[in-house]
C-alpha cells in the first residue's frame, strides 16, 4: 500500500536559556494509507513534538537537522517556508485532534463558524456548501440536533460532545493523514469507548492514515496496527501492535506493560519503573534508558552502546542496547 508519510532521521532541538535541548533524536517512522500508527511514551518522551513537526507547529526556537525529511505526498514539509505551502499541510492534507477540546476551540466563536471557516480556507467552495458539509459531518460523528449545536459555543457542549465536534471539524476537509494527540485522555471511560469506536469506524470508511498518540497502552491495543514506543526522544521499539505487546523485547516496553494495573489479576503487585525520566538537559549518552534499566549489560550501563534500531523479528525493531539486556 502507498506510503502517506515518511519521516527519516528527524532530530528536533530547542534553543532555550539553559542551553540546547534535544527533544527528538533520529526518528524514522512511516504511515501507510488506512493504517493506524500508535505512538506511546511518558510525558517528555517527544511524542507531541514529533506530531507538531509534521504540522510544522513547533515554536520559533526549534532547530531541525539538515538531513531530516518529513515526506508527505512526495514533498519534504520541513523545507516549506511560505504560508501557502504550509496551508496545504495544516488542515489540508493533515488534520490534528488535540487533547483538550476546550482549549482547541476558540471560546468566542460559534462551533459552526469555526468549522465553516476552515473549509472555506482549504476548499474552493461557497459558504452554504461548507455549512452543509459541516452539518453532515456533525451528524456522522453522532451529534444530534446538529442545527442547534452548529450555532453554539464550545463551553455549551459537554466534554464528549466537544471532542466529537473536534473530530468532525478535523475530518470535514477530508485529510489524508490524521494526527490524534491524546484524543481521549480527558474523557471518562464510557465516553472514551464511544469516541474510540467512532474514530475506528471513520478511519475505516475514509481509509486515511492515522498517528495516534497516547500514554495509554490499552487504548493503543484497541486501535493501532503499528506501534512505536518512545523514550526521551528516541524510538526504542517499533513493530506490529500484536507482536510488540505480546512479545516485548526492550526493558522499557516491558516495564510499561508491567506497570499497568491488571484488572484480571487483582493480587498482582504494581511494578513501577524505578527512577525518574531524566531532564532533557541531563540526557544520558549512549542508550538513553540506561539510568533506569533494571538489568543493564556492562557496556550499556557505561553508555558505550549507541542508539540504533535492529530488526529482531520481521517488522519488529528494537534498540540494539535494549535487545541485549532485555
Amino acid at each position: 500500500m502507498e506510503e502517506l508519510l515518511k519521516i527519516n532521521n528527524l532530530d528536533v532541538k530547542f534553543d532555550t536559556d539553559e542551553g540546547r535541548i534535544t527533544a527528538v533524536e533520529n526518528i524514522s517512522l512511516s504511515v501507510k494509507q488506512g493504517e493506524v500508527l500508535g505512538i506511546v511514551g511518558e510525558s517528555g518522551s517527544g511524542k507531541s513534538v514529533t506530531a507538531k513537526a509534521i504540522m510544522q507547529l513547533n515554536p520559533g526556537n526549534t532547530i531541525y537537522n539538515d538531513d531530516a525529511e518529513i515526506i508527505i505526498d512526495g514533498e519534504n514539509v520541513i523545507k516549506f517556508t511560505s504560508k501557502e505551502d504550509l496551508m496545504k499541510i495544516r488542515g489540508g492534507k493533515v488534520s490534528m485532534i488535540f487533547q483538550e477540546p476546550m482549549a482547541s476551540f476558540a471560546p468566542a466563536i460559534k462551533i459552526g463558524d469555526q468549522m465553516v471557516e476552515q473549509l472555506l480556507l482549504h476548499k474552493n467552495i461557497k459558504k452554504d456548501e461548507a455549512k452543509t458539509i459541516s452539518l453532515d459531518m456533525l451528524t456522522r460523528v453522532g451529534i444530534t440536533d446538529t442545527e442547534k449545536r452548529f450555532n453554539q459555543y464550545a463551553f455549551e457542549l459537554s466534554g464528549g460532545m466537544r471532542q466529537r465536534a473536534m473530530i468532525a471539524m478535523a475530518l470535514s476537509t477530508m485529510p489524508k493523514l490524521l494526527l490524534a494527540d491524546e484524543p481521549t485522555t480527558a474523557l471518562d471511560v464510557t465516553i472514551q469507548a464511544q469516541v474510540l469506536k467512532l474514530m475506528k469506524d471513520i478511519i475505516k470508511e475514509y481509509k486515511m492514515g492515522v498517528i495516534f498518540i497516547t500514554h495509554d497502552l490499552g487504548v493503543i491495543a484497541q486501535t493501532a496496527d503499528q506501534i512505536a514506543v518512545m523514550y526521551l526522544g528516541c524510538v526504542v521499539e517499533k513493530g506490529p501492535v500484536n507482536e510488540i505487546l505480546k512479545n516485548p523485547k526492550h526493558p522499557y516496553t516491558k516495564g510499561l506493560i508491567a506497570a499497568l494495573p491488571d484488572v484480571n489479576n487483582l493480587e498482582a503487585p504494581l511494578k513501577p519503573i524505578p527512577g525518574n525520566i531524566p531532564s532533557p538537559l541531563e540526557r544520558p549518552t549512549g542508550c538513553v534508558f540506561r539510568t533506569r534499566c533494571p538489568h543493564p549489560t556492562k557496556e550499556g550501563k557505561e553508555g558505550k552502546i549507541d542508539m540504533k534500531l535492529v530488526e529482531v523479528e520481521p517488522g519488529h525493531w528494537v534498540d540494539q542496547c535494549g535487545a541485549k539486556c532485555g
Binding site: 459537554s158 471518562d188 469507548a193 497502552l217 491495543a221 510499561l256 506493560i257 484488572v263 525518574n276
Partner: protein, 330 residues
C-alpha cells in the same frame, strides 16, 4: 469504641444555581442520600464519571463543603466530631486529623516556596511545632518517609518531575500526622510507570502511619488494585457498594458492568466488548425521577422506565449493596 473512622449518614449536598440575576434560583443535587462507613485502616474507593459527585462527597467529609442534610461523624479515639454541628475550634482540631491530597501536583505547589517551606507550612499554620528546629526535624522525618531526597528540600517545585511533586504533596498532607486522608484523583495526572510507584507509596504509608484513605478516582483498574471497599457513584447516588474483589468479579448494577467493560484491554486480540452507553450523564439540576441511570441503562426493566422505583441500596450478599432498581426490575 467503634471500628469505623467515618460514618456518613444520609448526606445530601445541594448547591444553589442562578443563571442570571433575574432567573429563578435552582438547586443542583450534587450528592444525594449517601450512607457509608469507612473502617479504620481501610482504603475506601469512590469511582464514577465526572459530574457524579465524588469530589463533592470527599470535600463534604473534610468539612470543606456545606452539608445540606444528614451528618458526617469522625470517630476519633477519645472523641466524636460531628461535622454538621462542629465549632470553629473543633474544626481546627479536625483539620489536623483529616487532610487532602490534590489531583494535579503541578497546580498544588506554590512555585515561590521551597519544598521545605511547602511541607512546613501546615505545621506553622496549625501551630503544631514550637520552634524552627522542631519543625525542621518533623519535615525531614516525613520527607524521608515519602522517599524524598533531603537535599531536595532547599529546591523549588519547578525542579521536580510529576512523580516527585506528588510525593511532596503527600508529605505536606501527612506532616500534621493525620489519621484520615482524602486522595482526590491523586494519580490521574501521572504517567503509568510513576502511578504504580505513588500507589505503592500510599499503600506502605497506610501500614506505617496507621492511615485511613478515601481514594477518589475515575480509573477502575487503579481502584481495583489499592482499595478494600469500592463505592460506585452516578449522578450523586451510590449505585453499588462492595468489597473490591466482589465488585470486580461479580458486578450487579448495569452501570458498574458498563464501566468495567469500557476499560480498554491491552490484549489486541481481545477486541473490546464494551457495553456501549448511549448519551452522557444528565444534568444534576433536573435528575431523572426514580432510578437516575434509566436514561442510559442498556437493558432497563419495565418498572424502571416508568420511573416508579426509588433509589435505594439493598444487600444482595454480605457487604455487597446494589441499587434496588437493577435487582428487582427485571
Amino acid at each position: 469504641m467503634s471500628d469505623n473512622l467515618i460514618s456518613v449518614n444520609n448526606v445530601c449536598v445541594n448547591f444553589d444555581y442562578q443563571e442570571n440575576f433575574i432567573s429563578k434560583k435552582q438547586k443542583i443535587h450534587a450528592v444525594q442520600n449517601i450512607n457509608i462507613k469507612i473502617k479504620k485502616g481501610s482504603f475506601f474507593g469512590l469511582v464514577g464519571e465526572s459530574g457524579s459527585g465524588k469530589t463533592t462527597l470527599g470535600r463534604a467529609i473534610l468539612g470543606a463543603n456545606k452539608i445540606s442534610s444528614g451528618n458526617v461523624i469522625f470517630h476519633d479515639d477519645d472523641k466524636d466530631y460531628d461535622l454538621t454541628t462542629i465549632s470553629k475550634d473543633e474544626l481546627k482540631e479536625y483539620r489536623k486529623k483529616a487532610q487532602l491530597i490534590f489531583q494535579d501536583p503541578y497546580a498544588a505547589l506554590s512555585p515561590r516556596m521551597t519544598v521545605r517551606d511547602i511541607i512546613a507550612e501546615p505545621l506553622e499554620v496549625m501551630k503544631i511545632t514550637k520552634n524552627k528546629q522542631e519543625t525542621d526535624e518533623r519535615v525531614r522525618e516525613i520527607a524521608s518517609k515519602c522517599r524524598l531526597n533531603l537535599e531536595h528540600l532547599r529546591r523549588f517545585p519547578h525542579a521536580f518531575s510529576g512523580g516527585q511533586r506528588q510525593r511532596i504533596s503527600i508529605a505536606r498532607a501527612l506532616v500534621s500526622s493525620p489519621k484520615f486522608i482524602v486522595a482526590d484523583e491523586s494519580v490521574a495526572a501521572l504517567d503509568v510507570s510513576i502511578q504504580a510507584d505513588i500507589l505503592n507509596l500510599l499503600k506502605n504509608l497506610r501500614k506505617e502511619l496507621n492511615l485511613t484513605y478515601l481514594f477518589i478516582s475515575h480509573d477502575l483498574s487503579v481502584v481495583a488494585h489499592v482499595c478494600d471497599v469500592v463505592a460506585v457513584m452516578y449522578l450523586g447516588h451510590i449505585v453499588e457498594l462492595a468489597p473490591s474483589k466482589e465488585l470486580f468479579n461479580n458486578p450487579k448494577h448495569s452501570y458498574t458492568k458498563a464501566l468495567l467493560s469500557s476499560i480498554p484491554s491491552i490484549d489486541p486480540e481481545k477486541q473490546s466488548k464494551a457495553i456501549e452507553l448511549t448519551g452522557e450523564i444528565p444534568s444534576a439540576m433536573n435528575p431523572p425521577s426514580g432510578c437516575v441511570f434509566k436514561t442510559r441503562c442498556p437493558n432497563p426493566g419495565h418498572d424502571c422506565k416508568g420511573g416508579d422505583i426509588e433509589m435505594g441500596l439493598i444487600e444482595v450478599s454480605p457487604g455487597h449493596w446494589v441499587d434496588q432498581c437493577c435487582v428487582i426490575s427485571k
